[in-house]
């Protein structure tokens, strides 16, 4: 799987502080990868529509990125922006946890 911008929508300038830069690291086309991609896309569309950038990267294609990005577990979604940095691991099936991880919901 090529690292291609799956969804890239320019956020309006006024919402710059709210802009989300997300990177999802997966390892090949495993069921976990597929689930994770589908789940995160859905969550983003529902909660961050218009103000996020999501890159999906396959570590098999770019293994050198694993070290640089401190990836151990896959799938890992890294919230680069806004701070603080967060790592959300797993297949993103627990939507509530994903939202907590994205600081879109208070920890319950």
């Amino acid at each position: 799987m090529k690292p291609k911008p799956t969804t890239r929508k320019s956020a309006p300038r006024k919402a710059e502080s709210n802009r989300y830069v997300l990177r999802l690291y997966v390892a090949g086309q495993t069921p976990k990868s597929v689930h994770a991609i589908a789940n995160i896309k859905k969550i983003c569309e529902e909660n961050l529509k218009g103000r996020y950038v999501l890159d999906v990267i396959d570590l098999y294609q770019q293994p050198q990125l694993a070290q640089g990005e401190q990836i151990i577990a896959v799938p890992t979604l890294i919230k680069k922006l806004p701070p603080p940095l967060r790592r959300i691991i797993g297949d993103m099936s627990n939507t509530e946890r994903v939202l907590v991880g994205l600081d879109l919901q208070k920890r319950g």
């Binding site: 690291y25 390892a27 090949g28 976990k32 689930h35 994770a36 789940n39 570590l59 098999y60 293994p63 050198q64 694993a66 070290q67 401190q70 990836i71 151990i72 577990a73 896959v74 799938p75 890992t76 603080p84 940095l85 967060r86 790592r87 959300i88 691991i89 797993g90 297949d91 993103m92 099936s93 627990n94 939507t95 946890r97 994903v98 907590v100 991880g101």
Partner: protein, 570 residues
Amino acid sequence: MPKARTQLPKSPTGIQGLDEITGGGLPKGRPTLVCGGAGCGKTLLAMEFLVRGARQFNEPGVFMAFEETAQDLTQNGASLGFDLKDLIARKKIVVDFVYIERSEIEETGEYDLEGLFIRLGQAIDSIGAKRVVLDTIDSLFAGLPNPLILRAELRRLFRWLKDKGVTAIITSERGEGTLTRQGLEEYVSDCVILLDQRASDLISSRLLRIIKYRGSTHGRNEYPFLIDENGISVLPITSLGLQQAASTQRIPTGIERLDAMLGGAGYYRGSSVLISGTAGTGKSSFAAHFAQAACRRGERALYFTFEESPSQIMRNMRSIGIDLSPWVQKGLLQFEAHRPTFAGLEMHLTTMRKAVTAFKPQVVIVDPLNSFIIGGNETQVKSMLMRLVDFLKMNQITSLYTSLTSDSGALEQTDVAISSVIDTWVLLRAIEIGGERNRGLYILKSRGMAHSNQIREFLLTDHGVELRDVYVGPGSVPSGSARLTQEAKEQAAQAARKQEVERGQLELERKRKALEAQIAAMRVEFEAQETETLKIIAQEQTREAHLTQERVDMGQSRKADRKANRRAHK
């Protein structure tokens, strides 16, 4: 260690002593678990394994650190003399610091550790690594949720490492009552090494034990190990077995008459000699003699001193005419002075081993041995000594130990029950008689030679130790002025005996003379009596004759019968 017939291939660690007890190293191409509590040297062991692999065995390695950053590791390595930076630059080692921060992580469903695999695989391939270290794997459990997934993934990781054919060390924290906190020993079944650190009598020692080593023989004991500026050294307790070659060569003791007592030739080369005695009996002097003799032969002597400084020893020995300083200048004699308390026994042993390895002496002196005995650690001292003796014997080094015995205790019982490892034991003792304190020595034992059974008096003169003549008289061994007195007494007694004999002879003579006089007197008396008696007899006969004549005359005058008279007269 004897090699088993079908040993699995091993990967030498290059760590001093560890390869001896593992019989050649860690299982090649398999993971080894190194577990232990905090600060017992897991990381260092792992790092040394990698560094030595890269430097000595041309096996590049990957260090995956979960606890320390690459910078920390480089610094720590530098303190042990490992130049990690250089090795990294030369593509011999890759250090990958795995950053896991629990607070940054949110778990949202099933995950796996494929990221770690990819990362490790990438690092291994980048330098063609043959060795891998994962330090400390427990950090994963602290950093990531869902231990069930982690366990399954670790199991997969160990299999994967095996498939990769890399020799790996995985370090893990020791758990309560279990080897590792997470029970990882169940997954790594090839080789498990336990590190421990224990303090006794305020001195802590590090210990290493091989819990299991599948498919290989290995030393099963707890082996003390040390970490110093040269890395780790493990000290096998008995790995040497008893296979030292025994030399028949003899080396002089430095004291001529002591040589004579030891079968005329001195100690055996490579033997262990103990000089024990009470305070002030001259133990160090014997040691100095021995050192000097070695240097005179052109051999090297290493003198470990634990109570006096080298200059103090040299000054004191000069006073008995032994000048050691020229030998020090010539580089034949080296002093190693340490306080016994400066480190634990193991540290001492290693320092000594290192000094011996570096200086390569033919003669080693340890003065005194019992400074090591602090509290009730005699067993450890004995085991340390045994290892030291073993080590020195292996290298055909003759060792001389001095030991102080207390005045009150039995002389032959040194504080350390070390007799069994000692080949020649010379006992010095003070002899207190007649207001004097003199020195005597005897050879308690000397394996493999006909040695003297005499107790000999010796003097510390201005030209060293001097044994006095063997005292051949009866009675106990006198010493000092008592000896002189004894000799004078014996001379007097001899004179007295001579006089006695003379007097006896005179008396006899006198008696004989007296007897002879008596006999003479009696004879004179007898002769007088005899003369008298004969005179009387003669007179009587004359008178008888007269009477007879008178009768005849009477008869003639009276005309009596002649016949009858004659018959009656007959």
